[in-house]
């Protein structure tokens, strides 16, 4: 595993990157196709929400459809 310090450095770099990319919305005007997508940090927000939503949906589907992986061999 990575040492504690380098792990922390990676965290800090990642968080800085996220902040940087969102704050770029202040400086660069994004062209919008359907108005809502031109709002501040829309893609970041939308991507985040969609992923969480997809994971939750998968989990729910998984509840019904998951089986042990020797299911078909029995």
């Amino acid at each position: 595993m990575l040492s504690k310090i380098s792990k922390r450095t990676i965290y800090i770099i990642c968080i800085c990157l996220l902040i940087l990319i969102v704050s770029s919305d202040f400086f660069i005007h994004r062209h919008s196709n359907f108005r809502i997508d031109g709002y501040f940090a829309f893609p970041a927000f939308f991507g985040f929400i969609c992923c969480i939503f997809l994971i939750i949906i998968s989990k729910i589907i998984g509840l019904f459809l998951k089986r042990p992986d020797n299911y078909y061999d029995k």
């Binding site: 660069i28 994004r30 970041a44 985040f48 969609c50 994971i55 998968s58």
Partner: protein, 561 residues
């Protein structure tokens, strides 16, 4: 094969595929290098037009129709064969490479066909040769290969019925834009969609591809689904139904890949997902959307091969494919990891990779056609792709916990293939015009604008954040997820068992009943004709004399009267 010095690259490949088993080992290695490269050059210099026309049973077959669309597909198929052959040089099973040549050659043949009959012939050769490649795999391969073959033969039959009907309706075997106002066009569509992995037949991809060998899966990933995409682009552009089928495939792929544990099955699900993007593009059907679908197929074949090579290398070295057994390989397999990450970034359409310049054409065309809802769904799907393939695959295979596996980077030839494909991915990403100038329609789209790059980066990076925040919910378990194929893998079995019990009862009842009737008949016969039966016993002679006298007497009386 040769007609005015035009050589059919597909048939050339098929011929050498048949020849390979007859050649010595040393010669074989040279051929696996040279022939695909030769085919690549052949395809590259093909002039546009119709070649190799033959008259057969009053039908005019066209084996080569060269235009931008067929050229870009055959070009990427040959690139694919070149690098996959180099990748698979260490494969001990020699049947695989020879079958792969036949498979790839028939895919090129199908793409170049100008008429339905030759298309169908190459289509079926593909189905059979790919089944043989699957059979070269692990112990489950025989069964899943059979299931694969059944689905494809079924699809082939539906396609054939459609083709026969369509030919008799139109009195022409030319394959071009299909007039979809008749039922035969829809039968052809169903046959083609089965090959594309559309619902409810999506199960065959994730069922059969992962049971092939470490090199076989790489070959399999490219041809079958993308040939179907080609036929759809050619025959069914702008069929609105395809948008919804495509959208379904996109989300189906994401959800199942999120739940999956086996790394090659994750990548198989993402094939369904990516083909969904292409099919949505075909459904939108504008020039830009079709360009997007064709270029996305091109880019997809390259980065999917790259991803499966990276997964294949891990499988080749460690012998494991399940995420629960893998992890921490970044230290021991750094080159495989870097190539895998480049493939993962490309599939997620990260800026400066090939996916970015192709997928965005499809979503942009949704904007122009005012499919607002579809555009938002495509956006959500882009985030989902990063989630299920872009991060999940590298994270669970190369990072996560240290599984303490003894590993090293794979042999040089495998590294060469992976590095070359990584370079192609990045090259297309940085210089999209290389790809754009090969597309069937003129491209007036510029992918690299500041707001597009930032839009995509925000979307993807925050999807990444969601992944790591939700990591504890994504913990891999030793499970599989049921699909549509449950109906023919399990339900049919249950059905047969159920009917078996009743059938046995019914059969015994029926048999018993007839045995009773038979017994009764025999008994009656015995009663009358047996030794003591009225018709069977010996009659005394006196009896006969008596009856003769009676008859004679009655005759005399009648005469006298």
């Amino acid at each position: 094969m040769i007609n005015n010095m035009i050589i059919h690259p597909g048939i050339l490949l098929i011929l050498f595929g048949i020849l390979i088993p007859l050649l010595g080992d040393k010669f074989k290695k040279i051929i696996t290098f040279i022939i695909p490269a030769l085919c690549f050059i052949l395809v590259l210099q093909l002039p546009h037009g119709m070649y190799l026309n033959y008259e057969y049973m009053s039908y005019n077959l066209t084996f080569m129709r060269v235009d931008d669309l067929s050229k870009i597909f055959s070009l990427v198929f040959t690139i694919m064969i070149i690098f996959s052959s180099i990748f698979s040089l260490n494969q001990n099973n020699k049947t695989e490479i020879s079958t792969a040549f036949i498979y790839g050659g028939s895919a090129i043949g199908a793409v170049l066909s100008g008429d339905f009959i030759s298309l169908f012939v190459f289509w079926e050769i593909m189905a059979i040769s790919s089944t043989i490649i699957i059979w070269m795999g692990n112990k489950d391969a025989y069964k899943s290969g059979l299931r694969y073959l059944t689905v494809h033969l079924f699809g082939g039959v539906v396609l054939l019925i459609g083709i026969i009907g369509y030919i008799s309706l139109k009195e022409s075997i030319d394959f071009s834009l299909i007039d979809n106002t008749n039922i035969y066009a829809y039968l052809i569509l169903i046959g083609v969609l089965i090959n594309a992995g559309a619902p409810p037949f999506s199960g065959w991809i994730s069922d059969s591809y992962p049971s092939a060998s470490w090199s076989g899966t790489v070959f399999l990933s490219a041809f079958t689904t993308k040939t179907a995409v080609y036929v759809l682009i050619r025959g069914y552009p702008g069929t609105e139904l395809l948008i919804y089928i495509g959208m379904f495939m996109i989300f189906y792929g994401i959800v199942y890949a999120i739940l999956e544990n086996d790394m090659r099955r994750i990548l198989s699900y993402s094939i369904i997902n990516q083909v969904g993007f292409m099919i949505t593009g075909i459904g939108i059907g504008t020039e830009m959307a079709l360009n997007g679908a064709a270029s996305h197929a091109f880019a997809h074949i390259i980065y999917k091969a790259l991803l499966l090579m990276s997964a294949g290398s891990v499988f080749y070295i460690t012998g494991k494919t399940k995420c629960t057994d893998l992890g921490g390989l970044y230290k021991t397999m750094p080159i495989t990891m870097v190539c895998g990450i480049i493939g993962a970034l490309s599939i997620s359409a990260f800026p400066f990779t090939s996916g970015f310049v192709t997928k965005s054409m499809i979503s942009q065309s949704a904007v122009y056609e005012n499919y607002i809802f579809i555009w938002f769904l495509l956006l959500a799907a882009s985030a989902g792709v990063f989630l299920h393939a872009g991060i999940k695959f590298p994270w669970f295979v190369f990072f996560q916990k240290d599984a303490k596996l003894k590993a090293k980077d794979p042999p040089k030839n495998m590294q060469f293939a992976m590095i070359s494909l990584s370079i192609i991915c990045i090259l297309i990403g940085i210089f999209p015009n290389i790809l754009y100038q090969m597309l069937p329609y003129d491209v007036s789209y510029a992918p690299y604008t500041w707001d597009h790059v930032i839009f995509q980066l925000q979307l993807l990076l925050f999807s990444g954040l969601a992944f790591f925040l939700m990591l504890k919910y994504l913990k891999r378990t030793l499970t599989l997820t049921l699909e549509f194929d449950w109906f023919w893998r399990k339900f049919s079995k249950i059905l047969i068992k159920e009917f078996d019990i009743h059938a046995e009862k019914t059969a015994t009842n029926i048999i018993n009943k007839y045995i009773k009737i038979f017994d009764k008949t025999i008994k009656t016969l015995y009663k009358h004709h047996g030794p003591s039966g009225i018709l069977g016993r010996t009659w005394p002679t006196g009896n006969m004399a008596f009856w003769t006298t009676v008859i004679l007497a009655s005759y005399l009386i009648i005469y006298l009267l």
